[in-house]
């Protein structure tokens, strides 16, 4: 078996750049089991025996964040042969804090001091020899940006992987070391000697995960508690803080010996940039300008142009005409239909998003790599935190006005898992450009083309996000441990082409791979339901009225009676919106047998629809139409977006939860709008059951909105 090396380090330490340098294109990207944290592995370039695992960027090996748990579980359970600990040389103290924890794991460690080019440029001096002597492990100077020192790190890592881990240094205070010695003796003396240190420190800290895992007998536990309490008393602090404090004290001692800063207190270029970019006066205008620019490039100009080309020319013209020429004459009609309307349309609807996605990912990668992304969270945090979202959720929502697929994918930049999931669930409430035809259609048919309908759609989209955020964050799924917002604002630097390229490619490819399967399958199923049925026996149908989906629609349309549009045509049109939201409109065209260009027949179709809505709802066409519009805006998005949700959630359960929540929420909102609307127009007698349901829904929603959050109400109490 080959050598396995883990790459560990702080976020923003250049870890990803180093990983890309070491492995090149030889990477496998996946997820850590059960969580949405990305897992990357790769073979070292020119040395296929060595597997490198990129651990999530972490500040500590505490048991609190998903990233930290994933990283430490891997290090302890999988026990790699060596660890490369990348350390940002411009931010030595905080980076070495993680190092002091990593070297306790009993695994050989090599420390790679990164950003040496900047350290040297600033005139600062890091005494590598002294540092190595203090930490008792090899230290290598590198610059991932310039590519220096890289081979040396790999050689060193391979060399130490064959040897023993570094000896443990007893660097805590006498009281703590005393307690640690007792713990080692009482609990972990059966373990291999190199592992004892890590476990005894964790037990001292009172790390719940470790204590549960080791199943320490209660009498032993209470025995060691005495030692711990003694140390706590003598040092006048709790055990966890004692350890953290002493680590930092130890690091300060080391850096005093090994690190000399040239100009103390001088403002760096990054500081100067930040003074303007996030200042009180210019902060918001600059933020708005950058966001507009990102949106303009990705959604309007380059991204839209490329996507339109793929949709309209490649999949709208070239491929269908090729198929028509070569396949139509020789294939049976159903197979041709399957290929053309099912597969090609399905694949096309996925690939159509790709150019736009890639442009957006380039923009996001640049924002992340240069350091502005953290500032986005810094600037927007105040608004978004009330809804269980991150300041970074702004970008997914903004992009979501163009298209929900890249919007959902943009949530990847949010570190906190709960914030990310919440963003994924709520992003598609914002009307995307494919929903605009539905808005225009309903506004035209029932509201005389009023612009207020569109404006209200955006307003309701934002309100839906806020309401959902407040309600969901009080549920068990999202509550629990609060997510601390103590965030590093990394120094600005120029983004590198390599990092931007890698990140863009990875995200783009992961979308194509995941989404394609779901979308393809779903489109084919829907194609089948739309095109097959009983006309003269089972087979392909000419008339949609005879299709299977009409049967299904008839069976289920009663569900929508309380919403004012309990009719199979409206129900089926809403379902076809799953392929792409603009399909809702074209489906109406088919269902009312207005073939050809919709625009020309718009008025007739509008009249027909308006009449129908009137008859479904007993004279409340406008209300029923508006309820229908809201349902389509808020319910489950198209298959492509569902594929993106599946990709980002990395869990079928969470995907179903998201879809279920969206549909349920859409249903209740439409129900309330229609029923209360009817009430206000004075007609309540015919809808009494629906009205009761709407009142119940409203009461339930209010309860969720205003109830106390029983899960994390006390996290801010200062003792």
């Amino acid at each position: 078996m080959g050598i396995r090396i883990a790459l560990a380090g702080n976020p923003n330490s250049g870890k990803t750049t180093l990983f890309n340098l070491l492995t090149g294109s030889n990477q496998y990207v996946g997820n850590w089991p059960g969580v949405t944290v990305e897992k990357k592995e790769g073979k070292i370039k020119n040395n296929q025996d060595v597997t490198l695992t990129d651990l999530p960027g972490i500040y500590s090996l505490s048991p609190y964040t998903t990233e930290e748990i994933v990283a430490r579980d891997y290090l302890i359970d999988e026990k790699p042969d060596a660890i490369i600990n990348i350390v940002d040389g411009t931010n030595l103290e905080r980076n070495l804090y993680l190092t002091t924890q990593i070297i306790e794991l009993g695994i050989p460690v090599v420390i790679a001091i990164n950003m040496m080019d900047i350290v040297n440029k600033n005139g600062d001096i890091i005494d590598i020899e002294a540092l190595s002597g203090q930490l008792l492990c090899p230290v290598v100077e590198i610059s991932a940006l310039k590519g220096t020192g890289i081979d040396e790190v790999v050689e060193m890592a391979i060399e130490i992987a064959k040897g023993d881990p570094a000896p443990i240094k007893h660097n805590f205070s006498g009281e703590v070391e005393h307690a640690l010695a007792h713990i080692e003796e009482a609990v972990v003396h059966d373990m291999p000697p190199e592992k004892q240190r890590w476990y005894s420190v964790k037990i001292f800290e009172g790390d719940k995960r470790v204590i549960e895992q080791l199943k320490i007998p209660p009498d032993v536990l209470s025995h060691i508690r005495e030692d711990i309490e003694l140390a706590e008393k003598e040092l006048d602090d709790d055990a966890e803080s004692i350890i953290i404090n002493e680590r930092y004290v130890y690091i300060t001692k080391i850096t005093e010996k090994c690190y000399k800063k040239a100009h103390k207190g001088k403002l760096s270029t990054s500081d100067k940039i930040d003074r303007v970019v996030t200042s009180r006066i210019f902060g918001l205008p600059i933020f708005a300008a950058i966001m507009f620019f990102v949106y303009y490039i990705a959604m309007q100009t380059i991204g839209k142009g490329a996507t339109d080309w793929v949709n309209d020319v490649l999949f709208g013209d070239w491929i269908p005409s090729l198929l028509e020429r070569f396949l139509e004459p020789s294939l049976p009609a159903w197979l041709y239909g399957l290929i053309n309307d099912g597969i090609v349309a399905g694949v096309g609807s996925v690939l159509g998003f790709v150019p736009q996605l890639l442009v957006l990912f380039v923009m996001l990668a640049i924002l992340e790599d240069c350091g502005y992304m953290s500032r986005v969270a810094f600037v927007m945090d105040r608004i978004f935190r009330h809804f269980g979202l991150s300041g970074k959720s702004f970008i997914p929502m903004l992009i979501g006005t163009g298209c929900g697929v890249p919007g959902i994918m943009a949530s990847r930049t949010i570190e906190n898992e709960k914030d990310r999931r919440m963003t994924v669930i709520t992003t598609t409430f914002i009307p995307c450009s494919a929903k605009l035809p539905i808005i225009g259609f309903i506004a035209g048919a029932l509201f005389g083309g009023s612009g207020l309908v569109a404006a209200s759609a955006y307003f309701i989209g934002v309100a839906a996000i806020i309401v959902s955020g407040i309600m969901l964050k009080k549920t068990k799924r999202f509550a629990g441990k609060p997510s601390p917002f103590v965030m590093e604002l990394p120094a600005y630097h120029l983004p590198t082409v390599g990092t931007v390229f890698h990140s863009t490619w990875e995200r783009g490819w992961s979308f194509i791979r995941k989404a394609l399967t779901i979308i393809l399958l779903s489109t084919i199923v829907l194609w089948f339901l739309l095109n097959f049925g009983f006309e003269n026996g089972f087979g392909m149908v000419e008339d949609v009225d005879n299709s299977l989906i009409a049967k299904v629609g008839n069976a289920f349309s009663w569900i929508f009676i309380p919403l004012g549009w309990g009719n199979w045509k409206t129900a089926v049109a809403a379902v076809t919106g799953l392929i792409a939201k603009e399909n809702v409109v074209s489906t109406f065209g088919q269902l009312y047998h207005f073939g050809g260009e919709l625009a020309e027949n718009g008025d007739e179709l509008w009249t027909a629809l308006s009449n129908d809505f009137n008859s479904f709802s007993g004279g409340h066409a406008a209300l029923a139409g508006y309820s229908y519009l809201l349902f389509n805006l808020l319910c489950a998005p198209c298959f492509a977006a569902i594929g993106a949700i599946r990709r980002e959630m990395n869990s079928a359960k969470w995907t179903w939860f998201a879809i279920g929540y969206q549909c349920g929420f859409a249903y209740l909102i439409s129900l309330m709008v229609y029923q209360f609307g009817c009430l206000f127009t004075g007609d309540y007698k015919s809808h009494i059951i629906g009205l009761v349901a709407a009142v119940v829904a409203l009461a339930g929603m209010c309860y969720f909105l205003f109830r106390k959050n029983k899960y994390n109400e006390n996290h801010l109490l200062t003792k």
Binding site: Y59, S60, S62, Y64, T65, T90, N91, L92, E93, R94, Y97, D237, E240, S241, I244, N245, Y248, K261, D271, D274, T278, S279, R280, G283, L284, F287, S374, A377, F378, V379, D381, R382, I383, R385, K481, P482, S483, P484, F485, V486, M487, E488, L489, P490, A491, H715, L716, T718, K719
Partner: protein, 72 residues
């Protein structure tokens, strides 16, 4: 006095970190420990969070959380 009360441009010294669990651990993990000096650089454009400099790097922290940090 807590970190929340420190004015922009002033430096203070941490005497104690309150709070509990993940939040407190995170604050301390980021290097805000007893005795460390904190320079308050600025407030975000909307007035919250705060940007501070600690151990030679920039950190942002919400005002509500800054209240947990006792300084002098």
């Amino acid at each position: 006095m807590t970190l929340r009360d420190v004015r922009i441009g002033k430096t203070c010294k941490v005497t104690k970190v309150h709070g509990e669990g993940a939040l407190r651990r995170r604050i301390m993990d980021m290097g805000i420990t007893k005795g460390v000096e904190i320079y308050v650089r600025k407030y975000a454009p909307l007035g919250d969070p705060i940007e501070i400099n600690v151990r030679n790097y920039e950190l942002s922290i919400r005002k509500a959380d800054a209240e947990l940090i006792e300084v002098e």
